[in-house]
């Protein structure tokens, strides 16, 4: 069976896997973005807290993803929970780091001006600091998404959803007729998804970064 024949015979299954893969990554990214920005907002004004947040999240990143999921199985069980937990944790680092850098990069004289005209702490954060830090945060989200696309494939190890299942099935039956096709389909599927997400981020950037600070 050629690769094309394989694709056309299995497209139903592949599309379901791809959809689940994308949906898992997307949902984890939303959660990671919320948590990541919150962590950054809570820590960026203090040197040590910001450093701690960056170090902690980068430590998470050094744990091999297979080991992380393996370690999570006894805690949260099989399937979706370990996948979501692992993906969210991995997604944090680029977001936290970029958000801290972005928030710290806001011109102090602008913050001074915002205070001076009578903006409250919350108003300063929501109307001045976060909008100005948004471009680096969005870059962090983009990097995190690319990373999660690959890591999500490992989730199949814990019976999680996604295109990883194709790859694992192929690897475990190496030598059989469709093994290579399965691995190839899963891998290419992930690449295509990653490119689609990236295109979406470019569009989001165009729509959400105010014209005044767009480069």
């Amino acid at each position: 069976m050629t690769f094309w024949e394989y694709l056309s015979s299995r497209h139903q299954q592949l599309l379901t896997d791809a959809y689940q893969h994308a949906s898992a990554v997307f949902q984890c990214m939303v959660v990671a973005t919320l948590i990541g920005v919150l962590i950054a907002v809570a820590t960026y004004r203090s040197d040590w807290a910001g450093g701690l947040a960056t170090t902690a999240t980068s430590t998470v990143l050094t744990i091999p993803s297979l080991a992380m999921i393996g370690l999570l199985i006894p805690v949260v069980g099989l399937g979706v929970p370990p996948t979501v937990t692992a993906l969210t944790l991995y997604g944090l680092l680029p977001i936290v780091r970029n958000a801290i850098v972005g928030l710290r990069g806001v011109d102090p004289s602008l913050v001074d001006a915002a205070r001076g005209i009578g903006m409250s702490r919350l108003a300063r954060l929501l109307r001045v600091e976060l909008p100005l830090a948004w471009p680096p945060i969005l870059t962090g989200i983009r990097v995190a998404t690319q990373m999660l696309m690959g890591i999500a494939a490992i989730a199949a190890y814990a019976s999680g959803p996604g295109l990883g299942n194709e790859i694992f099935r192929g690897i475990s039956s190496l030598g059989s007729a469709n093994a290579l096709n399965q691995v190839l389909a899963g891998t290419l599927g992930i690449i295509v998804l990653a490119l689609l997400f990236d295109a979406a981020y470019v569009l989001i950037g165009r729509l959400t970064i105010p014209r005044g600070i767009r480069v």
């Binding site: 001006a113 915002a114 205070r115 001076g116 009578g118 903006m119 100005l132 105010p210 005044g212």
Partner: protein, 412 residues
């Protein structure tokens, strides 16, 4: 268009101090000062003298560690700083406009925070842009980076004035713009202040700027100690000590020219013609006027060229080629120094005075300027002598009292 109403409010600083933790000496030490409503007071002093810190304590961007602040009689030392700042306009160096908001959004910030309706805010933005000399239609939707430094600063002032606060704090607002633009902005501020009568506290390290803008100047030395707090005239002619005279610098007589404006001296009328007048009229006017020269105005009434007798002949009757272009004009708000500059550079030895839209209103010449300056200096000299006389008298009285006291007291 609604006429903005709120005039100024008094500001009283009472033993105001700021001691940063871990520093042995206070950054601002026991400053007391009364600023009248509608007055422009300039804090001037060397870098690091605490003038900015003192200013920022008025809207409590820096919390004082001692003393009280009263604005319009109300003690604001302990009220919510966010509410306080909405009632105090604040303009800073390089404007501090938010780059992700349009000009209109920047200006609308404070009115929106204080709960103005959308319609009222929109009208106010238009009014303010007009007030600072920017065309609302053109500038409303622009982003700060699409503006020049001077335009940004104008928007900064408009934002500070947005909710019509009685008090305006300006922290070296014109420090980052080029000298020509700074000059324009200063003139604009003077014009604005004449319309609005806010209480303005303005920080600068440029003494010339202080002289030009201030009703009163507070010369500050280190830790914000007031070396002298008086009118510009008094500081120029009668510096309190060596520190102040050192700060005033050389050329006090020339600086005195900065204190008087063209509107205060005699502006003479001058024969004019416009470019649309037929040549015959121009000839007649030249002949009938007692002067050697007449001023040619363009279609919008702005000074265009100086025409001498014979110029038209030499140019074979072509207005486009005849005469010399008017290089420099001054407004009625310009200082005598600017006027002198213009008179010296203009080939005709006089300078045309223009109104708000650049239209001709009159002429100043060397003679007028010289006379005015002589009168001014003479008046200042008399005043200074009187002042010295008073001082001498007080001192004499003091010495007398001391001697009396000494003779009446212990026998040393």
């Amino acid at each position: 268009m609604s006429e903005s109403s709120a005039g100024g409010a008094t500001i009283e600083l009472e033993n105001l101090s700021k001691l940063y933790p871990g520093s042995p000496r206070p950054a601002v030490d026991n400053v007391s000062m009364e600023i009248k409503a509608g007055e422009t007071v300039i804090f001037v002093g060397p870098s690091g003298c605490g003038k900015s810190t003192t200013l920022k304590m008025i809207n409590r961007l820096i919390e004082p560690t001692g003393g009280r602040i009263r604005i319009g009689g109300e003690d604001v030392t302990d009220i919510d700083p966010v509410k306080l700042r909405r009632k105090i306009g604040y303009a800073i160096q390089s404007a501090g406009l938010f780059p992700h908001m349009t000009v209109a959004q920047n200006i609308a910030l404070v009115p929106r925070m204080t709960g103005w309706s959308t319609g009222r805010t929109r009208d106010r933005v238009e009014e303010l842009l007009d007030l600072v000399g920017l065309d609302p239609g053109e500038f409303r939707g622009r982003y700060p980076r699409q503006l020049s430094g001077g335009q940004q600063q104008r928007v900064g002032v408009a934002r500070a004035l947005a909710a019509d606060p009685p008090v305006l704090l300006m922290d070296e607002p014109f420090g980052a713009v080029d000298p020509i633009t700074r000059d324009h902005l200063q003139d604009e501020l003077i014009r604005l202040q004449r319309e609005l009568h806010k209480t303005i506290v303005f920080v600068t390290h440029d003494f010339d700027e202080a002289i030009k803008l201030g009703d009163r100047i507070a010369v500050l030395r280190e830790r914000s100690h007031i070396a002298q707090f008086d009118t510009p005239e008094a500081i120029l002619t009668n510096p309190a000590d060596d520190f102040v005279s050192g700060f005033v610098g050389a050329g006090a007589a020339l600086k005195r020219l900065n204190l008087t404006r063209v509107r205060d001296v005699e502006i003479t009328d001058y024969p004019t013609v416009t470019v649309d007048d037929p040549l015959q009229t121009i000839f007649n006017r030249l002949r009938s006027s007692g002067t050697n020269e007449i001023l040619l105005l363009d279609r919008r009434g702005r000074p265009y060229k100086w025409l001498r007798r014979g110029d038209l002949m030499r140019a074979k009757g072509s207005l486009a080629r005849a005469g010399t272009l008017v290089h420099d004009t001054v407004t009625r708000d310009a200082t005598l120094r600017d006027a002198l500059e213009a008179v010296l550079t203009d080939s005709s030895g006089r300078a045309a005075v223009t109104g708000r839209r650049g239209e001709y209103t009159g002429v100043v010449d060397m003679e007028t300027l010289m006379n005015s300056v002589h009168e001014l200096l003479e008046a200042d000299r008399l005043e200074a002598m009187e002042h010295q006389h008073d001082l001498a008298e007080t001192r004499a009285a003091q010495t007398h009292a001391e001697q009396e006291g000494a003779s009446g007291g212990t026998t040393a």
